[in-house]
Symmetry: C2
């Protein structure tokens, strides 16, 4: 357990703990993490346990509840706990609080996550999809602070997204809004993990970078990408940074496609800020500059004044800050 950490950009004060806090949790396939977060966004304390999905949903829920209780015991004396927010790596119905299916946790199909946790902890619980909550977290506490209309995209193994419009998270009829990774940018294009063809994810994800690298290095015997038996997108980026021409081209292509995906969303949402996160977004200027150029080329002029495309600020804690933002303002979270 770490000591108090500061939100990027917040100011250190020696004032006593503010009176309202939330528990904010991020459920992943490998770890369940939970923290105490103040209204201001100050993270007071945190705890992480292995998820151990192989034990089955009921045992995992019990372990999660135990971890939350440990945090509840550490809430400062003068503070009120508003409730628990949980970001889950799954499509979720935020109104009913039900996880449809978590692909990385065995047996998690139609789990009433909200009610199961509320029964165990006897505090209000609010759950949501991790990419959607991440959008809310970056909007309230991160790179999107002060903006009204935010698009959040995460480029990693897949491509996730979330949208805040007029101060509210877009959740949709089944709670499934925000899957921009599965919008088609190339009819009859390459096969995507979802079974469709030509999705943004099939062009701009880490998975796509790896697939293209494996296919195209065959024609570039000089490429340093041949040094890797089990090539990853991170390896491609590392070789791009070392100047390998094929790796550079692959990263630029991915950046160009990411920019096309972003431009599509700009024409739909007309945001004032686009926040870009995920592992691929930690790439060098060859990826970022191509992305920015691609957006400039694709976005009609009227949309450009004031439009900013910025890196995500909350890093690995985006799920936690997203859960905190949701629990602090359930209406904005669409719950």
């Amino acid at each position: 357990m770490d000591g108090p950490t500061m939100l990027p950009g917040s100011t250190v004060t020696d004032s006593p703990t503010s009176s309202r806090v939330v528990l904010a949790a991020d459920l992943g396939g490998t770890q369940f993490r939970v923290a105490i977060v103040e209204e201001s966004g100050r993270l007071l304390d945190r705890h992480a346990i292995p998820t151990m999905g192989h034990l089955g949903p009921s045992a995992v829920l019990d372990r999660m509840a135990d971890a939350c209780r440990e945090m509840l015991a550490r809430v400062p004396k003068r503070a009120t706990v508003l409730g628990l927010g949980i970001a889950a790596p799954s499509p979720i119905d935020p109104k009913r609080g039900v996880v449809y299916q978590a692909p990385n946790i065995p047996g998690w199909v139609n789990i009433a996550l909200r009610d199961e946790m509320a029964d165990r902890l006897r505090i209000p619980v609010l759950v949501g999809n991790d990419a959607n909550f991440a959008a809310l977290g970056e909007w309230r506490f991160g790179a999107g602070r002060g903006h009204g209309d935010l698009i959040f995209l995460t480029f990693s193994t897949g491509v996730g997204s979330g949208f805040v419009t007029g101060g509210r998270l877009l959740v949709g009829h089944h709670g499934l809004a925000g899957e921009a990774g599965h919008t088609v940018i190339q009819v009859d294009g390459p096969l995507c993990g979802c079974g469709k063809r030509g999705c943004l994810e099939a062009f701009a994800s880490g998975t796509a970078i790896r697939r293209e690298a494996l296919q195209r290095r065959v024609d570039f015997p000089q490429s340093t990408l041949h040094r890797y038996a089990d090539l990853s997108a991170a390896d491609v980026e590392a070789e791009a940074q070392r100047g390998d021409p094929l790796a550079l081209e692959l990263m630029r292509d991915a950046g160009r496609y990411a920019g096309i995906g972003i431009a599509n969303l700009v024409h739909i949402f007309d945001p004032d800020v686009v926040v870009v996160g995920g592992g691929v977004s930690h790439s060098g200027p060859h990826w970022w500059e191509t992305l920015q150029q691609s957006v400039r080329e694709q976005v009609l002029e009227a949309y450009r004044p004031g439009l900013r495309i910025v890196p995500a600020m909350l890093g690995d804690d985006v799920g936690i800050f997203g859960s905190a933002a949701a629990m602090l303002d359930p209406t904005a979270a669409g719950a």
Copy 2:
């Protein structure tokens, strides 16, 4: 001027006029139309004048005000006029009430439409983009009634769209949200009227149908499409209905692409209803059935329960009913 007309689906009653009405107007390149609409959606009276854009913005605004005054004089005695809503064929900043540029009305660049009309009429005025207001109109009075999350698309010369999420119109930072016609569905695809390549509009609009017909009929000397010197999309549809194989293929292609565009939006918004209007949408089953099949093929399963794709109900009056819906609930209109 016509007598009272009924909203499709509403019930004829002999009750007296309800106490709250709005003036609802639709500004087009050729006509300015204004009507008196009750809260219930009943249209009490209407008036249309030629726009006469060649006279210049100031004269057009005067003429519009005169037409509105004529309607105001005909408002039933016991009714209160809440204000005037105007749908304009242009990108608009709904918060400031300013028309950025109306492509079909000469000299309409940065016109403060809201304030100009409010000064002339001394009643509250609210303005918005016609496709966005159309979405609001179909949601409140038309095919989207009773649904929470609506996507509206119009397939005609171009492809327009508007989105209602959680009971509010999506307007965006500059008021430019909802241009799904200019999202790319084919990287490096055919040139669009906007200057970009591969936009949905370049595949699914009447303009695209005409372009493809002119290109492809060269290879089909038997096609009845050769009968037309100045071929239009409506001619292609007419020949498809008569069974011309090329015309049928062209309409099915357009329907398939429309479905791909709709599926992309379903993954972003997770709506419960998609309302489809515009001239192309009056095509026969070869277009509609291909569109529906295309959506089914492209939309991931979780989004499908309860999802309906339905024809627009308000026809040529969609702008008027949209303006009425906006003026009746300015918050929902994003003003």
